[in-house]
C-alpha cells in the first residue's frame, strides 16, 4: 500500500487487511476545523448539530472574511460565536488570533504524520506536506463529521511524482507546482505521492505550497513522505505522539512522473485555470498589469514576504499598479514585522493587510474591477473569482508578482533578484 492507503487503513472504522483504489472507506477523523464561512451557510445556521462528537477535537478558526466586510458576514459569524459557546469549544480563534485555517493548524502542531483532519477549505490538501491527509469537504459534510467523528472516502489511484535536483536562482516552490500543473493537467479523483532525491532540499513550507496547490489539479490528496526535514519542523510544535507513514518498498503506482527542479524557471499560469495552462514567465514578459497580489494559504508565508521584500528593497511599485500583500497567519505577520519585511513592502508603496483569505476568494481587501489585469501568487485564477468577471488573473510565485509590481508588467524576477543581491 502507498501512504494514502495506509492512513485510510489505520483510520478505518472496521478493520481492513488492505485498502485499494475503488474502495469506499469509512474512517474516524482526528480533528475537525470549522471556518467563519460556515456562518454564511443557512443549512448549518438553521440545522445546527446538537453537540460535537468530541468538543476537544473540534476547532473553529475565522479566516475567510477577516475582519467582517459587511453586515451579512458580521451577523453570520456572530451566530458561530454563539455556536462555539453552545458547544463549549475551547479551540476557537477569532480575528487576530489565528490565520488561514490549515496554515495556522500546521504552525500550531495540529498537523502530524498519519492523521486525518476534516476541514471545509478546499486547499486542506495542504496537509499532505506533513505526511497526513486532509481534503476539502462541504459544510453539510463537516456537520456530519462534527456529529459522528467519521466520514467516507473513495480511494483513488495514486501517481508518484519524483522531484529531483534543487531549485536555482529566482525559482520558488510555486514555480515547481506551475511546471507540474502545465505538464500533468487535471487529475480528478487521483492522489499524488511525492518522492525523489530532491525533496530533502525543500523546506516544509515549500512542500506545503506544492501540496496546497495540487487542489488545482483536482487531486484528492498530495502527500509527502516523512523525513528529517519534517521531523525537525515538528520538533517542539506538539507534545502529541505520532507515527510516520511510509509506502511499502515494492509499491507500484498508477504512473510515475519526474521533474528536475534545477531546470525549472519562474512560471506563470495564464488566466481562467491552472491545470495545463502554464508558461515560463519569460514567455509572457511584458504583459501589462493593474494589480499584484501576494497572499493566501499557499503563498502568504514568511518565505513569500521575504521574497517580496528582497525585490522591493530600494524600489517602488509602478505608478499605475497597486500591490496588495496579505500574510497567511497572525504569527507570520508578526515575524515579518520583526524582520522588517512589512515595512519594506509598505515603503515601496504596497498595501499590507491583516491575515485573511481576503481577495483570493473574492471576499474583500483587493477585489478586481472591470477590465483589470492582475498577477497573483494566491491559489486560484478562475474567471470572476477575485471580483469582476471581466478581470484577467495571471498566477505566479510571490517573487514574480513583486517584480511585476515594480515594472508594471509581467516580469521574470531573476534579474531584479540578482541586482539586489549584488548590493
Amino acid at each position: 500500500m502507498n501512504i494514502v492507503e495506509k492512513i485510510f487503513q489505520d483510520h478505518s472504522e472496521n478493520p481492513v487487511n488492505r485498502v485499494e483504489p475503488g474502495d469506499i472507506v469509512n474512517v474516524k477523523v482526528d480533528k475537525v476545523i470549522m471556518l467563519d464561512i460556515a456562518g454564511l451557510h443557512p443549512e448549518l445556521l438553521n440545522n445546527p448539530p446538537k453537540k460535537p462528537f468530541d468538543r476537544d477535537k473540534v476547532a473553529m478558526i475565522f479566516d475567510h472574511f477577516v475582519p467582517a466586510p459587511n453586515v451579512e458576514v458580521a451577523s453570520g459569524v456572530s451566530k458561530l460565536r454563539k455556536l462555539a459557546k453552545r458547544w463549549d469549544i475551547e479551540n476557537f480563534f477569532d480575528y487576530g488570533r489565528g490565520g488561514i485555517s490549515h496554515t495556522f493548524a500546521a504552525e500550531s502542531g495540529w498537523f502530524l504524520p498519519g492523521r486525518i483532519v476534516a476541514n471545509t477549505d478546499s486547499h486542506s490538501i495542504a496537509a499532505g506536506a506533513y505526511n497526513m491527509l486532509s481534503r476539502g469537504l462541504g459544510t453539510p459534510e463537516l456537520m456530519q463529521v462534527i456529529c459522528t467523528g467519521k466520514t467516507w472516502y473513495i480511494v483513488g489511484e495514486t501517481i508518484k511524482v519524483n522531484l529531483t535536483g534543487r531549485m536555482k536562482g529566482a525559482t520558488e516552490a510555486k514555480d515547481v507546482f506551475l511546471r507540474m500543473a502545465g505538464e500533468m493537467g487535471d487529475i480528478p479523483n487521483t492522489n499524488i505521492e511525492f518522492g525523489g532525491s530532491g525533496i530533502g532540499s525543500l523546506s516544509v513550507d515549500q512542500r506545503a505550497v506544492i501540496s496546497t496547490m495540487c487542489a488545482e489539479l483536482s487531486a484528492d490528496f498530495a502527500v509527502f513522505p516523512y523525513d528529517n526535514v519534517l521531523a525537525s519542523y515538528l520538533d517542539g510544535r506538539s507534545e502529541a505522539p505520532y507515527t510516520p507513514v511510509a509506502a511499502d518498498k515494492d509499491e507500484t503506482y498508477a504512473s510515475t512522473i519526474d521533474f528536475d527542479m534545477s531546470e525549472i524557471r519562474p512560471m506563470v499560469a495564464m488566466p481562467d485555470h491552472v491545470a495545463g495552462n502554464t508558461k515560463p514567465a519569460a514567455d509572457v514578459q511584458g504583459s501589462r498589469i493593474d494589480q499584484a497580489t501576494i497572499g493566501s494559504c499557499a503563498n502568504g508565508r514568511l518565505d513569500d514576504l521575504a521574497s517580496a521584500a528582497r525585490i522591493l528593497k530600494g524600489r517602488k511599485v509602478a505608478k499605475d499598479v497597486r500591490l496588495i500583500v496579505t500574510p497567511a497567519t497572525q504569527s507570520i505577520f508578526l515575524q515579518a514585522d520583526r524582520l522588517g519585511y512589512l515595512r519594506t513592502i509598505a515603503e515601496a508603496g504596497g498595501v499590507v493587510t491583516n491575515p485573511t483569505c481576503g481577495a483570493c476568494m473574492g471576499g474583500h481587501m483587493g477585489l478586481l474591477g472591470e477590465g483589470d489585469i492582475a498577477i497573483t501568487s494566491t491559489t486560484r485564477n478562475f474567471k470572476g473569482r477575485m471580483g469582476s468577471r471581466d478581470a484577467r488573473i495571471y498566477m505566479a510565485s510571490s517573487a514574480t508578482v513583486a517584480a511585476s509590481a515594480v515594472n508594471g508588467y509581467i516580469t521574470d524576477p531573476g534579474d531584479m533578484l540578482e541586482a539586489n543581491s549584488d548590493e
Binding site: 469506499i24 464561512i37 454564511l40 451557510h41 443557512p42 443549512e43 448549518l44 445556521l45 438553521n46 440545522n47 445546527p48 448539530p49 446538537k50 459587511n70 451579512e72 458576514v73 451566530k79 458561530l80 454563539k82 455556536l83 471545509t120 477549505d121 478546499s122 481534503r135 476539502g136 469537504l137 462541504g138 459544510t139 453539510p140 459534510e141 456537520m143 456530519q144 456529529c147 459522528t148 467516507w152 473513495i154 483513488g156 487535471d186 480528478p188 479523483n189 488545482e216 483536482s218 484528492d220 481562467d272 485555470h273 491545470a275 476568494m361 473574492g362 471576499g363 486560484r380 478562475f382 474567471k383 470572476g384 473569482r385 468577471r389
Partner: protein
C-alpha cells in the same frame, strides 16, 4: 426518488469550476436568490432559462475548485442530474450531500448536443439521447452514496438520526 431521469440538456465545456456555479456574491444573498447567479461569469442569463428537470452535461474536470455549495445552486435551479466526462472529488461529495446525483460518463460530451432530450438511468448506468438515438454507459454511483441522495442529502440523514438541534442559531 426516481432513478430514471428524462430531461432537456444544457451543454457545457471542460473545467466548469465552482466559482462559475456559485459566484462570490451568492454568499451574502438571500438563500432563494443564490441559484439565479449560477454561471454569472461564463454564461450570463443562463440560470433564468433553466427549467425544473433539465439535465446538465459537461466536459472533463467538472466542479474543480472550492467547497462552496455550487451543487446547491444547480439543484436550486431544478437540474435533476449532472453528467460529465469527469468530476472533481469535492464536487461529487458536495453534490451527493445535498441530494443531487452527478455521474462521470466518458464520451458523453461527444454524443449529446444542447437542447437534446436524454434519459439517464442511475440504476443501470445508461444514458440515451432520445434526439439522436445515441447511447453512453457510466458506472452507477455506489449504493452508499445513492442512499444519501435518496434521503435528500446528508443533513436529512443526520436529522433522522437525532443529531440536529431544533433550535436554529
Amino acid at each position: 426518488m426516481n432513478k430514471v431521469l428524462k430531461g432537456k440538456v444544457w451543454a457545457f465545456g471542460d473545467n466548469i469550476n465552482t466559482d462559475l456555479m456559485y459566484p462570490h456574491a451568492c454568499y451574502t444573498l438571500p438563500e432563494e436568490e443564490r441559484p439565479l447567479h449560477t454561471m454569472w461569469a461564463n454564461r450570463p442569463g443562463w440560470a433564468q432559462q433553466v427549467n425544473s428537470g433539465d439535465i446538465l452535461v459537461a466536459g472533463k474536470n467538472f466542479g474543480v475548485g472550492s467547497s462552496r455549495p455550487a451543487a446547491s445552486n444547480l439543484k436550486g435551479l431544478g437540474i435533476s442530474v449532472v453528467v460529465a466526462e469527469s468530476v472533481n472529488g469535492l464536487f461529487l461529495r458536495n453534490s451527493v450531500n445535498v441530494g443531487l446525483p452527478v455521474v462521470s460518463c466518458q464520451g458523453v460530451s461527444g454524443i449529446v448536443r444542447e437542447g437534446d432530450t436524454v434519459t439517464v438511468n442511475l440504476e443501470t448506468g445508461t444514458l440515451i439521447d432520445e434526439t439522436s438515438g445515441k447511447t453512453a454507459e457510466f458506472r452507477p454511483l455506489p449504493g452508499f452514496l445513492m442512499d444519501i441522495i435518496e434521503a435528500g442529502g446528508i443533513i436529512e440523514v443526520l436529522r433522522k438520526n437525532g443529531y440536529i438541534d431544533s433550535n436554529p442559531l
